[in-house]
Symmetry: C2
């Protein structure tokens, strides 16, 4: 049986998952591919440290050049993370005529175009299935079996940390701080959870999906992004009362040549299949003009699920190597589509106000909405009991409106004497 | 731009969906593949009939040989359905050195091995993504991005007709006959729904999945199969009371070298993601030893969703043709795994009895279960009101037991004077 040799950069969580997956399922993979996959060298700057995995010491190298200059290594797997060094290593590997597999969304986001061009020039493959939604094979699905579709909409729950936190808040009524601590204790959230809870991680993944699905380059920094830190238990409860679940949702919509995109906490109707995606699970939902609605669900992070995706890419590259077809005729990432980017676009919104329960209060709020052409779909006002002049929550769901037009109206509403403050404004999925 | 010419056999529902998909998304597909896909000949025995689609008449041929003998045609798409003629046509196309794409599960089930060998011999591709779960890209997912996994369990809702009927029964309390008529009126069920409602269609799909995932040949006829025709509204309601939804479920489980498989109505816990798959939608759920739990959800039938999958296969074959790599090194269907087939295996069961409400009745039923070593997890007995001697439903959920051992106990229970009959026995998913 032919052997294909692999060099791995890094020996962290995902690298260990990849190594374990290839070892554990060695026989199955050999049967499925007719080839033996051998990780022969692993870049490990501190080979003396206990990595908690049984790997023959002689595989470790401390200099990445030992991998790039090894003529027997055909595939380089980049799993050190970060942007600059990882990019530099991938570029070096590609320039050395080696195929590259990575799980690094940040580097692909920042430098995917350059790396892909380098792969094309060197007639080798660059694969990054693990960089979006971990174990869920969304990139392969878009690239091949769904390639005959135009997609009008993408919805993604692409971050396990935030989905776990929101699920705990929804199911157990815990507040954000408690749920975050629980997520950290269970290993679903990092010590510094900023990139997750602020939606930045999800924005990076959405950016890669937009490039692959719409052929359009939209950096994360240009996507309107709002995290989950100001979601109150009250919002979760009122959303439930209206028949919704709050999810941190990445979304992109294409209407003709207009593209909308955002990452924000969103009220999802409870009978929508995305409302049932709970805990650390991720999902990607697509509306195709041939296939219709489609969803892929699974684990978006973790050592083994991400390792599964990296190993899948390695297998796919190995098959192409065997057939002498390990190059792309058309690159998967594209940035040249002629689209007009329209920010987050129009949407229904949920608005929670704190207001003083006195006669005429609702009428005055209602007339401000009316003046701004904002239609009210539904409303809840909690009673202040028998006495007037208490502060009560007032919640509206309003029909499709532009976020900045809505803000103008809300600024005006905040001037009303009865209104103490606008407590939260959240998008509502139709 | 290079053109790849395609011959299509048949001009029925799926053929029209395929043609429309390729036309509608022509520009996107050309951008993604760098090639123009042209259906140049279509086998249509009755070109005079109005097919409800705008296709230039000169594409129609009445003799399949015009396609097989056309040296310019590289891909043959078989969409006439049925087994014998379809198989013969596919064999002829493969023997003529043409790649074959089909949506025909019955023919793949019956003759997949022979056809695959023929494809291997002729160094061409045989693709059939559309044959299982329509638009859902499950076969590609198994074959490539998930190839590094061993799967301990497969669950499938693989038939839109039965899932639609059960959803209507669950959501609106309608009985089976009414729900079936509704499904027929909406076009989700055929005039003769036997193959769907008896689970045979789902068994064929499970058989293909078992061949691709476990490398084991298990014909549909050997899979214990039970349809939905005897599901009563009472079963749906009691299941709900216990916290379950009834779904027609295809399932396969591998423990070591032991394989279990069945198609049968199953009580699915309401917090399981498969319990939320409603109406005509299909889903495949897999437990992989690296990726963990994964689910793919979408439309399993219909002109455009199935056409999307056929078009996806055509695109994938076209890409391989361009690279000169349009052949499989290892065939996707396999039948040679050394597994011991263990029927449907052990399971929890739901049992609904009609019994006469008199003193000691429950005790006697309980002791029969006890004698047979069957543990009772939970029980409901409806009261007969104030008077004894009325017939009442008694429902048990019992712990893991072999179906035939359970049957022995049930036969004994039916001999009890208080027990009128065993009304239904249904599998319960853990």
């Amino acid at each position: 049986m032919e052997t294909i040799k692999i060099g791995m950069l890094g020996i962290g969580t995902v690298a260990k998952g990849t190594y374990r997956t290839l070892e554990m399922n060695r026989r199955k993979i050999e049967e499925a591919t007719g080839v033996s996959l051998e990780i022969t060298k692993i870049l490990n700057r501190h080979p003396e440290r206990d990595r908690g995995i049984d790997i023959p010491k002689e595989k470790y190298v401390t200099d990445a050049d030992e991998i790039f200059h090894d003529p027997e290594i055909q595939i380089v797997v980049e799993l050190i993370g970060g942007i600059d060094t990882a990019t530099e290593y991938m570029a070096q590997a590609l320039a050395s005529g080696k195929h590259v597999v990575t799980a690094n969304k940040a580097a692909i986001m920042a430098n995917g175009q350059m790396l892909q061009e380098l792969a094309q020039e060197n007639h080798v493959l660059l694969r990054f299935e693990a960089s979006v939604a971990g174990g869920i094979p969304i990139l392969t699905a878009i690239q091949d079996p769904l390639a005959a579709n135009e997609f009008s909409e993408i919805l993604g729950i692409l971050n396990g940390t935030t989905n776990y936190i929101l699920t705990q808040m929804t199911e157990h009524g815990t507040n954000y701080a408690v749920a975050l601590r629980d997520a950290q204790e269970k290993g679903f959230a990092e010590a510094d959870p900023t990139a997750d809870v602020e939606g930045i991680d999800m924005g990076n993944k959405l950016s890669i999906l937009i490039s692959m699905i719409y052929g359009f380059g939209l950096p994360q920094s240009q996507i309107p992004t709002k995290g989950i830190t100001d979601i109150a238990s009250a919002d979760i409860e009122f959303a439930k009362e209206f028949g919704y679940r709050i999810k941190l949702l990445a979304s992109a919509k294409k209407k003709g040549s207009k593209l909308e995109a955002s990452v924000q906490p969103t009220l999802v109707p409870e009978d929508h299949v995305m409302a049932g995606i709970n805990n650390e699970y991720n999902a990607v939902y697509l509306s195709g003009n041939a296939v219709g609605d489609l969803m892929l669900y699974g684990k978006g992070a973790g050592s083994m699920p991400t390792g599964s995706a990296v190993a899948g890419d390695i297998i796919s590259v190995a098959r192409e190597i065997q057939k002498g077809s390990a190059y792309d005729l058309t690159p998967p990432l594209r940035y040249d589509a002629k689209l007009y980017y329209n920010g987050e676009g129009n949407s229904k919104y949920y608005i929670r106000l704190a207001a003083v329960d006195r006669p005429g209060m609702l009428g005055r709020i209602g007339s401000v909405f009316g003046r701004h052409g904002i239609g009210i779909q539904t409303m809840i006002q909690r009673s202040g009991g028998n006495s007037y002049s208490k502060t009560v929550p007032v919640i509206f769901i309003v029909y499709d409106i532009n976020r900045s037009n809505l803000q103008t109206a809300l600024n005006e509403i905040e001037q009303e004497k009865s209104v103490m403050s606008v407590e939260n404004v959240l998008r509502v999925l139709k």
